[in-house]
Amino acid sequence: MPASIRLALMLLPAVVVLGGLFLGGLVLAIIRTVGIVPFAGRFDPTLEPWTRALQEPDLLLSILVTLWVAAASTLIATALGVGAALLLHRAGGGRLVTLLVQFNLTVPHVVTAVGMAWLLGQSGVLARLAHGAGAIDRPGDFPALVNDPWFVADIVAYVAKEVPFVAVVALAMLAAVGSAPAITARCLGATPLQAFRHVTWPLIRPGILAAATVVFAFVLGTYEVPAVLGPSHPKALPVLAYQMFTSNDIADRPAAIVVSLLMAAVGVVCLVAVRRLMRGISGLEVVR
């Protein structure tokens, strides 16, 4: 068999499946928002779903809170993840830390979200500890962290889930860079902070930023965490989109797709960013 045909046979199944399911789904979603549903034989071009979605009273607020949650979770998780990786890389914390970091990566988000609700809720474990310490009397005295307008528990849940992810990427980047550049800088008189800021950080930055972008895009599109921990007003975008999609008014469906396309658009921008950042990361370049 000629090499080119063999190569095509190796690639074709994955390309057809991803192209059909992912790209196909995306294209169908887009054309449905302008009134075209090929598999139902419907073709009446309209912009009604777009005006309907954009007239959704809470849309702007939903976009803003979703961006807030994604930005806050990404910043905190990235800072903590890089910090944890530096500590583990230099100092270490025993097999227990290793195991917990890896274990946390495998836990479904919905489990972490439910656990957070029981931990941070007004009658949750923290509130009980506060009561035991005499700080509060009734559950209502405990600050509202779950279903609150600032999405505090929502952000904490994402941080708990994504810190291990960022840490694992950062550890891999630190290992690829090695300690030689930092040691050289130290020998030339740099303080540890200077060595990190001017030598190590620029070297690991692309990988860290790529990981952060993946976290950002993921938080943007995840339904179950804000469904458990977010307030009913304003809703996170995925929750708003899902509720519009399943509303009794069937005309809301295309409008729901418009809302989820807004998220997908941000995701596409993130994709371009990740591609840019991943270029030149030796560990992720697959061609030899």
Partner: protein, 287 residues
Amino acid sequence: MTAFGAALPRRAGALVRRAAARPQGFAARSALALLLVLLVAPFLPVVVWSVTRAWFYPAIVPQTLDLSAWTSVFSATSGVPAALGRSVLIALSATGLAMLFGVPAGRALALHRFPGRRLVEVLVLAPLVVPPLAVAMGLHAVFLKIGLAGTVPGVVLAHIIPTLPYVILVSASVFSAFDTGLEDQARSLGATPSQVLRHVTVPLLAPGLAVAALFAFLVSWSQYGLTLLVGSGRVPTMPLILMQFVTAGRQDVAGAIAVLTVLPGVLALVLSARILAAAAARERTTS
């Protein structure tokens, strides 16, 4: 979501372990202890709720212990055993299909240059970064039309979208460390293509590919939004049934379901550690 984490599990795991063996200062130790608290804290109430029905504010420890959540979790009427079987079936099927389509693509991406390579890479990365909700909503109408919406096969198909990129990325990293010269040597010594596959390629790549499969399984196992949308709420997997019991106010049963939902991850960790350790040991004895 854990694209790079998945692509680098072997290396990073070893690194974390090596780094973890060294002593450290007080500040670093307390910072790591805080991190541990953050990682573990959400599971404490989950585990406690699974063994009590009476744990009300302001009690810090439950008033009474009660294992009835576990009996109801394992009784057919709760729907949990069915959900467990459904989740396993869906995750196994999605993993099998993703491996079937993804491993050859991973090999092609790792070992060959070809025109349009850029586009293939973008197509592989896209499902990891573009939120799946819009895609699922687009597929929904087609799936309704052909009778896949609200069915297990429909959910399996949808789960291929997030699992396939993982398999391709992980197997690409496995293949990029693979010496194809060994295949050529076997061929020149008279092995047939299928013999090469059976006696050279598969044994050498099995550990890495097994880890890819474990990750794919976990990715499918954790899906929520896709299952909810494509399944039209009629395909309750473990994550979905967990939420049902939380909404119904049955914290005890929900706690038990949450513990069961976490178990495959623990098993996968143990398994992948074993597989990689065995592979490392074999490498030491043969080289």
